[in-house]
C-alpha cells in the first residue's frame, strides 16, 4: 500500500469517526457544555434530543416552522421555573416546566401544541440529575400531548445560579370564535374550582425540610388541557378561566375582581382543601387560599350552566374534585369577600410579600 493510500485511509477513518454520534462521558456539567462546541453538541444529542427529540427538534435549525390550522388564532405564553428543591412529593422541576406553560395555554381556551425549553445550568450540576430533569420534561410533554420544537442551553459559573433553571414558551391553537375573558364575566355567574387547593405550595414547603414537619401532601402538578377542553365543550359560554399558581386562589379571584370590576363572593365551607394541607396550613398560620396550585383552575360559568360544567369536569380525572365555590356580584366591585360557615364575612385581599407564618 502506498503512503498516499495509507494517508487516505487514516483521513477516511477520521471522517468516519467525526460522523459518529458524540458521546457524553462527563459526570457533571462543565462550562464547556455551554460553549457551543463539541461538548455542547454532545450534551444536546445525548441528553436533550435523546429525551424529547422529534421531527422539529432533530433538525437543530435556528427555529421551528409550525403549521397553524387555517382560520385559528394562536396563544403564546412563556414562564420561568426556579423551584427549590427540584424534586418534591408529587412532582419535579421538569413536570412544572411543562405543566405550567401547558396550563397557561389551556386556561386561555387554547389547545397546547408546541413548546420550547431553555435551560440555564450551573457548572457542577450532576449529569445524572440533569438526565432526570430532562426525562421528567419529556414524560410531562408526552402526557400533555405537546411537542418540544426548540430549545437552548447555557451554563453559568458555579454560584451564579442554583443548579438548574428552566424556561418554557408555548404556543396553543385557539378557535376563532372562542370568547373568554374577564370582560365576559357578569353578576350572577358562578365560580368553580377544579379540585383541592394549596397542595403544591405545601408540598414544596414541606420538601424544603426546614419545618421538621411530615405530612402526606403531594404536589398537584398536572396538565389541565383535557379538563379545560371538556368544560369548553360542555359549556361554550364559559366566561373566564385561570390557573391559580403563585398567590393561590385568593390572588386569582382578586385579579378577576379587578379586571372585571365585579365582586367575588367565596363560600368558605365549599372550598375544597385536603385535610393534611389544611392541618399543615393551620400549624404554620397559612391560609390555603393563598397557597400555590399547579394542577387546578378556577372558572366562571353562567349560573344555569353550573351542573353541566361540573358534570363535564368531574368526568376528567384531573378535575374529578370540581365544585362551585362562589358567586359573582355587583355589590362590592373589585373586592373578594369570603363568607364563613356561620355567616360572618371577611375580605380576601391580594397577598402582600411572601406568605409569612404567624408566630403565636
Amino acid at each position: 500500500m502506498s503512503t498516499q493510500d495509507e494517508r487516505d485511509q487514516v483521513l477516511a477513518r477520521i471522517e468516519q469517526w467525526k460522523l459518529r454520534p458524540p458521546k457524553l462521558t462527563d459526570e457533571v456539567v462543565t462550562m464547556a457544555h455551554g460553549a457551543g462546541g463539541k461538548a455542547s453538541q454532545s450534551l444536546t444529542e445525548a441528553v436533550f434530543k435523546a429525551a424529547y427529540g422529534g421531527p422539529q427538534l432533530d433538525r437543530l435549525d435556528d427555529g421551528a416552522v409550525l403549521d397553524v390550522p387555517p382560520g385559528s388564532r394562536i396563544v403564546f405564553t412563556t414562564d420561568a421555573f426556579v423551584v427549590t428543591p427540584r424534586k418534591f412529593a408529587g412532582g419535579s422541576l421538569g413536570d412544572l416546566a411543562i405543566n405550567g406553560t401547558v396550563n397557561d395555554l389551556a386556561v386561555m381556551g387554547a389547545t397546547p401544541k408546541w413548546l420550547t425549553v431553555s435551560a440555564v445550568l450551573e457548572e457542577g450540576l450532576p449529569m445524572d440529575e440533569l438526565r432526570d430533569i430532562v426525562g421528567d420534561v419529556a414524560a410531562a410533554a408526552a402526557k400533555a400531548g405537546v411537542e418540544i420544537v426548540a430549545g437552548d442551553t447555557k451554563v453559568v459559573e458555579r454560584g451564579a445560579a442554583d443548579g438548574c433553571y428552566l424556561t418554557t414558551s408555548g404556543i396553543g391553537v385557539l378557535s376563532s370564535d372562542r370568547q373568554l375573558g374577564a370582560d365576559q364575566v357578569q353578576p350572577g355567574d358562578v365560580v368553580l374550582v377544579s379540585g383541592t387547593i394549596g397542595d403544591h405550595g405545601m408540598a414544596v414547603i414541606l420538601a424544603r425540610g426546614d419545618l421538621a414537619l411530615d405530612a402526606n401532601i403531594e404536589s398537584d402538578t398536572a396538565p389541565l388541557h383535557e379538563a379545560t377542553a371538556a368544560l369548553l365543550e360542555a359549556v361554550p359560554m364559559t366566561r373566564w378561566m385561570r390557573d391559580p399558581t403563585r398567590g393561590g386562589l385568593a390572588s386569582a379571584c382578586n385579579e378577576l375582581a379587578a379586571a372585571a370590576n365585579v365582586g367575588v363572593s367565596l363560600f368558605e365551607e365549599s372550598l375544597p382543601v385536603n385535610p393534611p394541607v389544611n392541618g399543615a396550613c393551620e400549624l404554620l398560620g397559612l391560609d390555603p387560599l393563598y397557597v400555590a396550585n399547579e394542577g387546578k383552575f378556577v372558572a366562571v360559568v353562567p349560573a344555569d350552566q353550573v351542573d353541566a360544567a361540573l358534570e363535564a369536569l368531574r368526568a376528567v380525572p384531573v378535575s374529578a374534585g370540581a365544585v362551585a365555590i362562589g358567586e359573582i356580584n355587583d355589590e362590592h366591585p373589585g373586592m373578594v369577600v369570603a363568607h364563613t360557615p356561620f355567616g360572618g364575612s371577611r375580605i380576601v385581599d391580594m397577598l402582600v410579600g411572601a406568605p409569612l407564618p404567624r408566630i403565636c
Binding site: E331, P341, G343, R346, D349, V352, L356, P357, I359, C360
Partner: protein, 375 residues
C-alpha cells in the same frame, strides 16, 4: 381536622351568637379588649366582628409580639445582622417590621445574612452546622414563645455552641395590661384573656384585674366558638353582677399554668427593670433578658448594639390603637400612608396586628348576608 373543626362548628356558633345577642340586649354598650393578637387575627379571619351585636365592640389589645417591638430594637437587630460573619435568624413576621430607617428584609437585600426560622432550635442547628458563622436568634414574643427560647439557651450551653447567641426581646403580658388599665380615659368593660400565654402562666396572674380594677376577664381559646363563648361568659358575668377571672380554654389552660415551663423561664431569664413598648412607652418590669448564667449567649453583650431610642413616627397612632383609645381606621394614616405593603406602624405588619387584620379582613361588612350554599 380533629380539635379544630369542632370549634368552628356553625351550629354551636349560631347558638352562642343568639345567647350573646340576648344578653347584650339588656345591657349598655360594652367594650371588650382581646389582649392577644391571635384573637384579633381569628376575629377577622372568621368574620366574628360582623356577627356580634352592634352594642359590643371588640378592642384589639397589645398582645401581638410584633406590634409592640419599638423601632430602636429593630435598628439594633439590623446593626447586628449587618456585621461581617453574622447570621441573624428570626420569625417571618419580623422581616418587614420597620425600624428607624429600614427593615430586616431590606438589610437582607443589601447583603446581610438574615434567615427565617420556625423555631429557635432551628437557629441553634444552623449554628452547629456552620461553626464559622456567628448565629444570632432574634427572640420575640410573650410567655408563649419565651420557654422555647429558654430551652434553646439551655441546649446551647449543654452542647457548648459558642457561636450562638440570643437577641432577647421577650416581654410579659401582665404589665402592659396594667398600663392600659391605668391609662387616662380607659373605658373597657372586660378582657378576653390570652389563651396561649395562659397555658404557660395560668390564670392566677390576672386576678388583679377583677380585684383592683373591678373588671371581668375570661381566658379564651382561638377558634370562633372559643371566642364567642368567651364573649358570652363576659356578658353573663356582667349581667349577673359577677366580676372574676374565668377560664374558657380549659382543654388547654390549667389554672396554675405550666409549672415546667415557668421553672425554666426562671432558670434562664431575669426581668428587665424597664423596656420600651411600641406606642405604650417604657413599662417597668415588662420584659425578659438572659440572666447572668447565660450571659455568654446574650447577643446584647456579645455585640455592640447601638441602643438608640427612636421616637415613634408622629403620624402613627399605634399607641392609641393598642390602648383601644381609637379603632384602626380612626388613625390618620390608616389605609393611606400606612398599608400592609408600606407599614408605618407595627400594627400594620403582622397579620395579628389590629390594623393589618382590619385592613385585610375587616374593611367590608356585608349589608345582606349571603346564604351559605355548598355544591
Amino acid at each position: 381536622m380533629k380539635f379544630v373543626t369542632e370549634f368552628r362548628d356553625p351550629v354551636a356558633a349560631r347558638a352562642l351568637i343568639k345567647e350573646i345577642t340576648a344578653l347584650a340586649k339588656d345591657q349598655p354598650p360594652r367594650k371588650f379588649m382581646e389582649v392577644c393578637g391571635g384573637h384579633t387575627h381569628a376575629i377577622y379571619r372568621h368574620g366574628i366582628e360582623t356577627l356580634l351585636p352592634e352594642s359590643i365592640e371588640m378592642v384589639h389589645g397589645p398582645g401581638c409580639p410584633v406590634c409592640v417591638i419599638p423601632m430602636g430594637r429593630i435598628d439594633d437587630a439590623i446593626a447586628v445582622a449587618s456585621r461581617e460573619g453574622v447570621t441573624m435568624c428570626c420569625f417571618g413576621d419580623m422581616m418587614r417590621v420597620p425600624g428607624g430607617k429600614s427593615t430586616l428584609l431590606e438589610a437582607k437585600a443589601n447583603g446581610a445574612d438574615v434567615r427565617i426560622v420556625y423555631s429557635p432550635l432551628d437557629a441553634l442547628a444552623i449554628a452547629e452546622r456552620e461553626p464559622d458563622r456567628e448565629v444570632v436568634f432574634l427572640a420575640v414574643g410573650f410567655e408563649t414563645t419565651a420557654p422555647s427560647t429558654a430551652v434553646t439557651a439551655m441546649q446551647a450551653r449543654e452542647r457548648k455552641v459558642s457561636n450562638f447567641s440570643i437577641f432577647c426581646n421577650h416581654v410579659t403580658i401582665v404589665p402592659p395590661v396594667k398600663a392600659i388599665l391605668d391609662s387616662p380615659g380607659m373605658s373597657l368593660d372586660g378582657f378576653l384573656g390570652p389563651g396561649h400565654v395562659s397555658t404557660v402562666i395560668g390564670t392566677g396572674p390576672y386576678e388583679f384585674v377583677p380585684r383592683e380594677y373591678g373588671l371581668p376577664l375570661v381566658a379564651a381559646g382561638f377558634e370562633p366558638v372559643d371566642i364567642l363563648q368567651g364573649v358570652a361568659m363576659l356578658l353573663r358575668q356582667l349581667a349577673e353582677g359577677r366580676c372574676e377571672v374565668e377560664n374558657q380554654y380549659k382543654r388547654v389552660v390549667r389554672d396554675g399554668g405550666n409549672t415546667a415551663a415557668l421553672k425554666i423561664l426562671g432558670q434562664v431569664f431575669t426581668i428587665r427593670p424597664h423596656f420600651e413598648w411600641r406606642g405604650l412607652g417604657f413599662i417597668a418590669q415588662s420584659a425578659l433578658a438572659l440572666n447572668e448564667d447565660f450571659a455568654e449567649f446574650d447577643a446584647e453583650l456579645k455585640f455592640e448594639v447601638p441602643g438608640v431610642r427612636v421616637a415613634d413616627p408622629k403620624a402613627c397612632q399605634c399607641g392609641e390603637v393598642l390602648k383601644g383609645a381609637i379603632r384602626p381606621w380612626e388613625c390618620k394614616v390608616f389605609g393611606s400612608a400606612c398599608t400592609p405593603e408600606t407599614p408605618i406602624g407595627t400594627c400594620m405588619v403582622s397579620s395579628e396586628g389590629a390594623c393589618a387584620a382590619y385592613f385585610n379582613y375587616g374593611r367590608f361588612r356585608a349589608k345582606t348576608r349571603i346564604p351559605v350554599t355548598s355544591t
